[in-house]
């Protein structure tokens, strides 16, 4: 892994669509340079050629020309349209993940990134991925907005509290690449970054086995579902169960009592846990309690992964559970892998008691705070 992966002036092209972004950039750069130099040259030429011959002389009487106006409206418009179409095409590739992706869960919090592989390995501020595989990050945050930005992959995506956003890439070159938080998030915003390690498949497999995983998200979710949160008391039990059947629902259209149909995606499952009365499935009573404030973002992700697995739509999970934690080289916090309680680094938002709950500036003198807005 090279230490300095930066080519002067341009970041490395390390994802499948990086060259497309660069091509678009060079195209625009070329046209802009030609147009820019043309206009500037004309201005300088006029400026010298038509310098006043005599003080207070009057310039030629020219008022305008429809032909010219039309020309210089249409040509920039056409250029702008090529740029639009090119941008739309690249954007399509950046935002539409292929079907066969390996999912990695990401939780941002002031000021660190937490990653969890579907095989259970957890990392902080570092992410190891194999080369040539479609990787999809499903991301959320525990506090403010953040943004996962990997310049070498030419992609970024905001991470938003209260919902999931996704970002995908396929790394084409082994190496070590910058990971930045690109959405301002408070005190240590510029420190909220790390590295993406792209490895050959073989090295990646080694890395995986060297970092024995804890519970996989699916296993953790199952534990929550069946024991910890007691979801199973209503959502399992066959014909007698009071809650909706969850097997096989993922990706299907669900009919709600209000007549609408919604697609059962990650967001839907998340909302059903946090705000069940918001979307009652047809044929059921609004009896499910909300779990808001009782589950952490990471537990939610595990639950979502588990419910997805009931429809057979998650990548195979690792089997080596119960072993010791995987430590990552730069992890700032120790991570446990045991039960659902200790799996999670941070307590739920509602009862977070550490300094982070004081907002972005724990160093600020007390007198500087506006206490009215702080209810936690």
């Amino acid at each position: 892994m090279q230490e300095n992966s930066w080519v002067p002036l341009f970041p490395e092209q390390a994802s499948t669509f990086a060259w497309q972004v660069d091509t678009l950039y060079f195209y625009m750069l070329a046209v802009s340079t030609v147009v820019g130099i043309g206009i500037v040259a004309a201005i300088i030429f006029f400026f010298i050629k038509y310098r006043e011959k005599e003080k207070y002389a009057t310039g030629a009487e020219i008022h305008g020309s429809i032909g010219l106006e039309t020309t210089w409206s249409i040509i920039p418009f056409i250029f702008a349209m090529t740029v639009f179409v090119g941008g739309a095409y690249v954007f399509y590739n950046q935002t539409r993940p292929p079907v066969d992706t390996t999912e990695i869960y990401v939780v941002g919090k002031q000021w660190m990134w937490k990653f969890q592989h579907s095989s259970g390995q957890r990392e902080i501020n570092e992410l190891h991925v194999p080369v040539g595989r479609n990787i999809k990050l499903t991301m959320t945050t525990e506090d403010v907005l953040h943004d996962v930005y990997i310049p070498a992959f030419r992609t970024k995506m905001d991470v938003i509290p209260g919902r999931y956003t996704t970002l995908w890439f396929n790394a084409i070159k082994p190496g070590k690449y910058h990971l930045f938080c690109a959405e301002y998030c408070g005190l240590n915003h510029s420190g909220m970054g790390g590295w993406i390690y792209v490895m050959e498949q073989r090295d990646f497999d080694n890395w995986l086995s060297g970092n024995v995983s804890g519970q996989t998200p699916v296993q953790a979710g199952q534990d929550l579902f069946q024991n910890k949160l007691g979801c199973a008391s209503c959502h399992a039990g066959g014909a007698s169960q009071r809650g909706a059947k969850l097997e096989g629902i993922y990706g299907k259209d669900i009919k709600l009592t209000n007549g609408q149909a919604v697609k059962a995606d990650d967001e839907y499952i998340r909302n059903s846990i946090l705000n069940p009365s918001g979307q009652i499935v047809e044929g059921f009573q609004p009896i499910m309690p909300t779990f808001k404030g009782q589950v952490t973002e990471e537990q939610l992700i595990s639950l979502v992964a588990y419910i997805k697995s009931l429809s057979g739509s998650t990548s195979s999970s690792s089997t080596n559970s119960g072993s010791t934690m995987n430590s990552t080289s730069s992890g700032r916090e120790t991570m446990n892998n045991g039960g659902t309680n200790s799996t999670n680094l941070v307590a739920p938002r509602a009862d977070r008691g550490d300094s982070n709950s004081q907002g972005s500036n724990p160093n600020a003198p007390k007198t500087q705070s506006e206490p009215t807005n702080r209810e936690r």
Binding site: W6, I43, F46, H189, S190, S360
Partner: protein
């Protein structure tokens, strides 16, 4: 028609007994004045003070970024410094700069009116500005804000431990200053034009301010409402933006940019108006495509309301919304291109003088060109996924806001300085300063395009070491730029006291503002002018007798 009101240089060379500056010397005669020219001076002084403060913050930012580590400023301080730089520069310098100073002074004179339609409201607008500004200053002294000028939620409503509410209130109150100025301009332009001053005889400066006023009037209430909602959530914990209490953080971004994108046009249209004046007058030639420039201002103002989503391409808005906003952004760039082409064409077969205002105008075209073209880069959605929230954005908007609006402001200030103060400044120093500013500006901001493409995120107090070289260039440029901006402060102040007296029409131009004495009398004209010439009319029709003038002023090149 010709003999109705020929321009009589003999007559306007004579000074009126009192001009607007000598009409009262008490503090009260200034602070309670209803004269648009005096209010413009009040704005000039206060806006300049805010500019100096914003500039100080800018220097701190650049000094901190000289090294990769956050050593000079800790990140908590740095975050406050860049936030306060942005807030001061946008809300208290750039938005009022040209409209409230030059617009206030010149619009009534340019259309042959005695004052704005509502002189008291004009004064009130200055007081709103002062109250809003003082509140903001108070908040800065207490400890400042650290949310970024964009106030994104839920950081600003729930997490920030800084004086968000005081600054928010300051911006809220200051907004009324914009609204009232916009309202005043619109009514004035509709109802107070002198006889013969038809819409298409108005200088393009007035057209540009008309378009700006529309945006001020229609857009500013939205930011006011947004700030109120932010206050509701922050103080009363009513869930509007914070998802933890049932809100939607993206809603804030929609509301914020629904104002703030049009607001970026408040920060460039007046500058475009100034440039149209400078280019045409200093080529001594009618501007090329008058109607196209006039209507492109209106088009920018209207379409400017439809592209706010281009600030949110990676904020989780739908892919289709992103595509539509990208498309509309492309469309809105065309009127700007039209202006650039028309300005360039105006030079053709002109009689171009190399006076300082014209230097600024040329620099403006070059820099705005870069700013506008990089705007296209950012409007291209696939490219902006990589570029947004990096230094590329920072470079882009400084090219349009500083390279564009600030240079236009300086150009306009130099152009009308003899009219405003009745004094001439040093030609030599003003040219030197203009060139230093141009060089310093480019050295500061051009490297930031490259930094942005390399991936350096904005709002970083510390950064990876490979970005250092370009940051050193940028800081070096900023020092040059600072020197370039201090020089005018010195020679312009000097000129007020020791400058040569300016004649009524030092550049010998046809505009109405040059047909009254320098400085003008309180009621602007001895008698209401009757306008029978087109804007930028250098022919005899306008009453400009150049032979005669040349003899009278005894000028040769």
């Amino acid at each position: 028609m010709q003999n109705v009101n020929p321009i009589n240089f003999e007559k306007i060379k004579e000074e009126p007994k009192v001009n607007y500056l000598t009409n009262g010397f008490t503090v009260k005669s200034w602070l309670l004045t209803k004269d648009h020219k005096r209010i413009a001076i009040l704005y000039l002084i206060t806006v300049s003070a805010f500019f100096a403060l914003g500039g100080t913050y800018a220097s701190l930012i650049r000094l901190e970024l000289l090294t990769p580590a956050s050593d000079l400023l800790q990140s908590g301080t740095y975050n406050r410094v860049f936030t306060q730089h942005g807030i001061i520069m946008v809300f208290f310098f750039l938005i009022p700069s040209i409209p409230a100073i030059l617009g206030n002074f010149l619009i009534p004179i340019m259309i042959g009116a005695k004052d704005l339609a509502f002189p008291k409201i004009n004064l009130l607008s200055w007081y709103f500005y002062i109250i809003g500004g003082s509140l903001t200053l108070y908040a800065l002294l207490q400890g400042g804000v650290d949310t970024g000028w964009t106030f994104y939620t839920p950081y600003s409503t729930t997490f920030s431990n800084s004086y968000v509410m005081a600054v928010g209130l300051g911006i809220f109150i200051n907004g009324f200053s914009s609204i009232l100025t916009g309202l005043n301009f619109i009514v004035t332009i509709h109802t107070m034009r002198a006889p013969g001053m038809t819409w298409f005889r108005m200088p393009l400066f007035v057209w540009a301010h008309y378009a700006t006023s529309l945006v001020m009037l229609l857009g500013t209430p939205v930011i006011a409402i947004t700030v109120l909602l932010l206050a509701l959530e922050r103080l009363a914990r009513i869930g509007i933006f914070d998802p933890a209490i049932g809100g939607d953080p993206i809603l804030f971004q929609h509301l914020f940019w629904f104002y703030s994108h049009p607001a970026v046009y408040i920060m460039i249209l007046p500058g475009m108006g100034v440039i149209s004046e400078l280019i045409s007058n200093f080529s001594r030639k009618k501007i090329f495509g008058y109607e196209f420039i006039a209507f492109s201002s209106i088009a920018i103002a209207v379409f400017g309301f439809l592209v706010w989503g281009h600030h949110m391409f990676v904020s989780g808005q739908s892919v289709y919304a992103g595509l539509v906003f990208s498309f509309l952004t492309m469309v809105v760039s065309v009127p700007s291109a039209i202006k650039v082409f028309n300005w360039s064409a105006t030079l053709y077969k002109g009689q171009i003088s190399y006076d300082t205002p014209m230097l600024y105008a040329l620099f403006f075209i070059g820099l705005f060109l870069i700013g506008g073209l990089t705007g296209l880069f950012l409007g291209s959605i696939g490219l902006t996924v990589h570029l947004t929230d990096t230094y590329f954005i920072v470079a882009h908007f400084h090219y349009v806001m500083v390279g564009g609006q600030v240079l236009a402001y300086l150009g306009g200030l130099h152009y009308w300085w003899p009219k405003i103060t009745g004094k001439m400044y040093s030609e030599f120093w003003s040219k030197i300063a203009a060139i230093i500013i141009f060089v310093g500006f480019n050295l500061t901001f051009f490297p930031q395009f490259i930094l942005g493409y390399m991936g350096m995120p904005r709002r970083y107090a510390s950064y990876p070491p490979e970005f250092q070289v370009l940051n050193i260039f940028s800081t070096a440029g900023a020092s040059i730029l600072a020197i370039g901006l201090i020089i005018p402060l010195i020679y312009l102040t000097y000129s007020i006291f020791f400058g040569e007296k300016a004649s009524a029409n030092p550049w010998l131009l046809p505009g109405l503002e040059w047909r009254t004495s320098s400085p003008p009398p309180t009621e602007n004209f001895e008698e209401t002018p009757i306008v029978y010439w087109e804007a930028y009319d250098f022919t005899e029709e306008s009453g400009l007798d150049l032979e005669d003038a040349r003899n009278k002023y005894k000028v040769t090149v």
